[in-house]
Symmetry: C2
Subunit: 198 residues, 2 copies
Amino acid sequence: MDNTREIEALIELMARLPGLGPRSARRAVLALLKRRGQLMAPLAQAMATVALNARDCTVCGNIGTADICPICADPDRATGEICVVEDVADLWAMERTGAFKGRYHVLGGTLSALDGLGPDELGIPRLVRRVADEGICEVIMALNATVDGQTTAHYIADALTETTVQISSLAQGVPIGGELDYLDDGTIGAALRARRRL
Amino acid sequence: MDNTREIEALIELMARLPGLGPRSARRAVLALLKRRGQLMAPLAQAMATVALNARDCTVCGNIGTADICPICADPDRATGEICVVEDVADLWAMERTGAFKGRYHVLGGTLSALDGLGPDELGIPRLVRRVADEGICEVIMALNATVDGQTTAHYIADALTETTVQISSLAQGVPIGGELDYLDDGTIGAALRARRRL
């Protein structure tokens, strides 16, 4: 192709984003090229600003633009509850529901010997210290319902047995709008075991 | 959501790209946030460079980083052929095949009274001048096989009748790997009318 080098380089970088391949990256760059002033320049500017300012919160591991993220800095959220999530994406998903008013602990992954992710990399000793220091009464495990997520949840629960904190996890069952016919056997079994009186 | 404003602003801008919605834009920004140094900063830099330098070629309408695009500037491509395409994306598609060695004319759309796109906006007078000035012997219409594309092709052919240039268009027929059972009647009819002796 005879595109100039700079445009090619931009397409290659865009193609590394999740959800974009070489073809859709080309399409996205073309759309940007057509709206250089209105979209491309502001996007480049916004990206540079975030790249420069974004950092991990030193308390919970959330990503923000200050050393302490807005959630940890908000005094209204000192409810004595910590929600443990795998990833910032999961924190954002929890926040979208608006159902949780406490603070978070972002692990940044699950325990994995293969990837070199041990308790220290996931900040588990830091979580244990927070439980003591911040007077936490409940730790809610909101890890993914996968083998890795549940293994990590059990490890964290073990690490917290010496404290008096209450440990809970998200309920498992039929999702809202779910049809039994399409659900896997494990989910139906879990929903049956955790049945509630109407 | 409790994200800081700058990250929210970046997600909103990313969501305007074709192929990305609010959800996938969030995913892309998260991936960028996790690789701030290796991916986000270089991408912001590349985008800023292109936004600053990209411009339309004054000869053919292709997008490059100079006033004359690399194709128009390449003396080896002065083959006396001009390929008329709707869009820069179509030019890139033609270039990927490597089958065409001449130069291009990028219309930037099709004739449309509704969108205010007349012959002047599509640079058709400029094309007619080029045909005379550059000693062009063939103009190849590589417009999309849509009603708008074909209407525009016929308009351009009319505008060129006063010159002696030969006008051709891409062949219509069965695509490579195409199965007759899945093709529409119009394509099969066109392929039959344009049949060739084996």
